[in-house]
């Protein structure tokens, strides 16, 4: 009797595991490495390609930032399919393999090692800066070209071994846009709140410095611990210093809760959030409290004339909005394709050289050129405002 019971339990657990895998999107193999690669190779044989070109994708497909990660993965998949339909890169069929960075340094390190050991030609990925940072040396040691579409902490710059290219504006670009907005809103005393991770702390500190350099005052510089739901004590602390404006530099999930609790606690100043909070979910979570909140954001697909077709394709295929980083992820793969074509080979050194020489490549989100630090030369941040449950342009 006991054995039958145990057997039933084991079978139950196994079916749960199978169910879990069945839920993954077709192109990802973040947990069951290898299985999907084989499937893709089999279908690849039917087309007339001169071999395969394997590109790694490193995004969070689980955890608090999974929404963004999946948007990015989907966008890259669209670019891959378009490129394959046009005959691939150098006549080779592009295949992808995904590593789950989970917005966690340890998970990201494992994902990067997995991608490197599965012999990818190049990698597009990097959403959370804190999780991307430790992977730079892994890709650097293997000399794998890395295009980073979202992560934009300035901490990534000195740690870049030369093979990584950041196509999102950095914290410095964003801090300038943000402080310009604060001045436009007539703020004098501001509070800055971050979450203690690489990205949000970095943006908070740069904004703090820029704001004080401009001769204004930062009355509160606070941090919330990740995973906590209750910010009421922090709200009280902020309120007691009566700032004109509060800038939240971290992500939407906690941002939504913070905004709700700020309004609940009677805070009446302006609220501005960083690009990590640029999600409709922020408004869902915060409800009415999100009304009037500003976000400093990288350009949304909705506001890019060049991205109209991409947006329609995305919606038709994934039945979902593309999210804030999909245009850059899509651009990232095209940037890579362009560099590999110009390099004329899949030699990693040549690809890195070609990437660095990129000059004004037209992407959905604007022109891509790089500074000497491999950072995007021209900033592309915009200001949006929450009105009636959706973001509207507030430039």
């Amino acid at each position: 009797m006991k054995k039958v019971f145990l057997l039933a339990l084991v079978i139950g657990l196994m079916s749960l595991a199978v169910f879990g895998c069945g839920n993954q999107p077709p192109a990802s193999d973040d947990q069951q490495s290898g299985e999907n690669d084989q499937a893709e190779e089999q279908t690849g044989e039917q087309a007339s390609f001169d071999g395969e070109l394997k590109i790694g994708i490193m995004v969070p497909t689980t955890g608090s930032e999974a929404t963004y990660g999946k948007d990015m993965e989907n966008a890259i998949q669209i670019a891959v399919d378009e490129i394959n339909a046009e005959g691939g890169i150098l006549g080779k069929k592009v295949v992808t393999t995904t590593g789950d960075a989970a917005c966690d340094p340890q998970m990201a390190t494992a994902a990067a090692s997995k991608l490197v050991s599965s012999d990818v030609t190049a990698v597009v990925g990097g959403y959370c800066s804190g999780a991307t940072l430790p992977t730079l040396s892994i890709y650097g040691d293997a000399n794998v070209p890395l295009v980073i579409p979202a992560a934009n902490s300035t901490k990534l710059i000195p740690n870049n071994p030369g093979n990584a290219f950041m196509i999102n504006g950095t914290g410095a670009h964003q801090a300038q846009k943000a402080t310009a907005l604060f001045e436009r809103l007539g703020a004098e005393k501001i509070a800055i709140v971050h979450q203690g991770d690489g990205y949000s702390e970095d943006l908070a500190k740069i904004t703090n410095d820029v704001w004080e350099e401009d001769g204004h005052e930062v009355v509160a510089f606070e941090v919330v611990n990740k995973g906590e739901q209750d910010f009421s004590s922090l709200v009280t602390n902020v309120r007691s210093k009566s700032p004109d404006l509060l800038y939240w530099t971290a992500y939407y999930a906690d941002g939504g809760m913070l905004i709700k609790q700020l309004r609940q606690g009677g805070y009446e100043g302006e609220i501005v959030v960083g690009d990590g909070s640029n999600s409709p979910k922020l408004m869902e979570i915060a409800g009415n409290a999100a009304e009037g909140v500003y976000v400093t954001s990288n350009p949304l697909v909705e506001y890019l004339p060049a991205a109209k077709k991409f947006m329609e394709d995305y919606k038709a295929r994934f039945n979902n909005d593309p999210g804030p980083y999909s245009a850059l992820s899509y651009d990232g793969l095209y940037l890579l394709a362009d560099a590999i074509e110009r390099a004329g080979s899949t030699d990693k050194e040549a690809i890195i050289k070609a990437l660095a020489e990129t000059e004004g490549l037209e992407g959905l989100a604007g022109k891509v050129s790089f500074t000497e630090d491999n950072v995007l030369a021209e900033s592309n941040f915009v200001v949006l405002q929450a009105k009636g449950g959706s973001w509207t342009n507030a430039e």
Binding site: E222, V223, D230, S233, T236, R239, Q264, E284, A286, G287
Partner: protein
């Protein structure tokens, strides 16, 4: 805000977060008291409670609305279903292990926790769900301190649940049986008490309370996700230890103490609110140095 307002506001903040800790700590304490198991899956039961209430609210809101009526209905449904989940977990994972060494059952508890939150992760794709209700921010103002009706109702609801639990444990036959089993399981069997049934009942009650806390957290904070039970699980466990694990009033007091200490920690001069946990847990370690059994714990030998 004047200093008085700040102190009053932080007291309210501490009381509110403390009541969540207390409700979850009760489950830890009851289960430990009766079978000496540190049920590390308890935080995930809290999470499951929030998700079940989320689904239930979606079911009942077309009829009852997403105001208090709908929320209370969803909460009661969630308490009942998650109570059953607790009983099921106890039956499947813990009961076969009751005779095994205590470390084995502890590891089983960690396994149950993994199964619970990974299942929810698979179902929700790891995404945050917005727990949308019709509750506004209306409330009463005391000086510059704003207390919403939601906050008042949540604290009152917690108090009602705790008073009912106290009555249940001290006045009913079932409560008496629970206390008896905590003292001596074998003697209870000899006296004709159905020990397995009472243990199952303990899990039902503990899980229901966690589900109530999970529902209230969803309503109050407005967002739920699969990992929400982790931090509160750790803190509630701490609260249970502070109060004296195994003691019901101890768990209630421990939760409130921890909540108030954390709120006090954010007001520390010179260092930021990021140190509030260090402050709170530092004081708690000190307390345990001088009183290892917790505030209301009894001195006993040979416990984990």
């Amino acid at each position: 805000m004047s200093t008085f307002d700040i102190i009053l506001q932080q007291l309210i903040n501490g009381l509110l977060i403390g009541s969540f800790y207390s409700l979850v700590a009760l489950g830890y304490s009851m289960v430990y008291g009766i079978i000496m198991l540190l049920n590390f899956a308890h935080g995930d039961i809290y999470m499951a409670g929030a998700f079940v209430a989320f689904v239930m609210l979606a079911v009942v809101s077309p009829v009852l609305g997403a105001g208090w009526l709908g929320i209370v209905a969803a909460m009661i449904a969630s308490m009942f279903l998650v109570g059953l989940l607790g009983v099921f977990i106890q039956r499947v994972a813990y009961r076969p292990m009751l005779g095994a060494p205590r470390l084995s059952i502890l590891i089983t508890a960690i396994g149950v926790s993994l199964v619970l939150y990974n299942s929810v992760m698979a179902i929700t794709d790891g995404e945050f769900q917005a727990f949308t209700t019709d509750l506004g921010f209306a409330g009463v103002d005391v000086g510059s301190v704003h207390i919403t009706y939601t906050q008042i109702i949540l604290v009152v609801a917690t108090a009602i649940l705790m008073i009912s639990l106290n009555w249940f444990i001290s006045k009913t036959m079932y409560g008496k049986a629970m206390r008896a089993i905590a003292l001596d399981k074998d003697a209870c069997r000899l006296m004709g008490i159905n020990v397995n049934k009472i243990i199952a009942l303990t899990f039902f009650v503990g899980s229901s309370l966690a589900a109530a806390a999970g529902t209230m957290a969803g309503v109050y904070y407005g967002s739920i996700h699969f990992f929400m039970g982790f931090v509160i699980g750790l803190k509630a466990f701490t609260a249970a230890v502070i109060g004296g694990i195994g003691s019901i009033p101890g768990a209630m007091i421990g939760g409130l103490v921890l909540g108030l200490l954390e709120a006090a920690g954010t007001q520390l001069p010179f260092i930021g609110s990021e140190w509030k946990d260090v402050f709170a847990f530092g004081l708690l370690i000190l307390l345990l140095v001088f009183r290892p059994t917790g505030i209301l714990g009894k001195t006993e030998i040979e416990r984990m």
